[in-house]
Amino acid sequence: MTEQEIIKLTNQVFEDSFEIKNELLKEEMNIFQDLGLDSLDIVDLVVALQEKFGVKIRNDERIKDIRTIGDVYKFIISLKAESAPPAPYSQK
């Protein structure tokens, strides 16, 4: 999955779960101050992201550092990179 695909799917989660318009989904937007999500909304967000990307997030400490939509993108990108199978060893 490419970074652009991850960004697109993450935006879909925000649109489907919170009905936030796509125009508001910019990297620099603060999810608490600008979008108005609270701690309970974050639980909903985590559940929706887990379902969308098939990853386990709930107990990941890095969630606490997320402030902006850009942070969410980076977090999912790093999770997908961690869960990707290692590249096959190639002998030249």
């Binding site: 779960s17 919170f18 101050q33 108005g36 609270d38 309970l40 909304d41 909903d44």
Partner: protein, 253 residues
């Protein structure tokens, strides 16, 4: 100079009366209700106790600061929807919880931790079943609010969670709206303006002024069924923001 002197006199008299009335009125009201409680059910005793708190609040907000502070309460509900209700109010001043005494309903307030620490008032709030939302997990909060609503007691909450520093409407927390979605009780937006300096955040100094309280029409379950908590809280927030604009003369009436 003359204005400052009047302000000092007003505040001195108000706070002396406030302390005297609180230390005499609250124990007196409590004793009267405690005496009646021997002869009536627990439910009726709680109803009377909450009514006594409202009377106490009315004296504090209407009688003691008179004629320096004027309160105008308007019920803009034309639907005659039956309660109990979930009231969602904007929050600009420490006087907000007292102002809700204008409501002619039995209700419990959702408060922060600090009101419970106030002498006498904190004790009264605990006895009346007021809930400190930050001191309990959401599941316990939801259960307690649901039980109160099912017993006919309305709930009043300040979903911003804290007083606004600059008068602007803060983002809303979703807890009370999640309970609304679980229970289906009507949500009533309430707008309070004019008390930004009665008293201002960070001070106890009361300034003269007119406080307006507008209770809007309830949003019934039929209207918000199927909403996400996020959508419901933002819908209520927008209704409050629009009405505040009208109240402050910035919007269309």
């Amino acid at each position: 100079m003359k204005k400052s002197l009047i302000l000092i006199c007003f505040n001195t008299i108000f706070y002396i009366l406030f302390i005297v009335f609180s230390f005499i009125g609250i124990p007196l009201f409590s004793l009267i209700v405690a005496f009646q409680a021997v002869f009536i059910s627990h439910r009726n005793a709680m109803k009377k106790f909450r009514r006594a708190i409202s009377w106490y609040g009315i004296v504090i907000i209407k009688a003691l600061p008179y004629p320096f502070v004027k309160i105008i309460y308007k019920d803009l509900d034309k639907t005659k929807t039956a309660g109990p209700f979930i009231f969602a109010c904007n929050h600009r001043s420490a006087s907000d919880p007292f102002l809700l005494a204008c409501f002619p309903y039995e209700f419990v307030q959702i408060v922060n931790i600090w009101p419970f620490k106030l002498p006498v008032l904190g004790f009264m709030a605990k006895c009346a079943g007021y809930l400190s939302v930050r001191e309990m997990p959401f599941e316990s909060f939801s259960k307690k609010v649901t039980d109160l609503l099912n017993n006919g007691v309305s709930i009043a909450a300040f979903p911003e969670g804290t007083r606004s520093a600059d008068g602007s409407l803060g983002q809303f927390h979703s807890s009370i709206f999640r309970v609304a979605l679980q229970t289906g009780y009507p949500v009533v937006p309430v707008c309070i303006t004019g008390n930004e300096k009665i008293p201002a955040r960070g001070t106890l100094l009361l300034r003269p002024g007119t406080i307006k309280i507008h209770k809007l029409s309830p949003i019934t379950y039929d209207e918000y069924r199927g909403f996400t908590p996020y959508k419901l809280k933002n819908m209520v927030r927008q209704l409050i923001a629009d009405e505040i604009e009208v109240m402050e003369g910035k919007g269309n009436a």
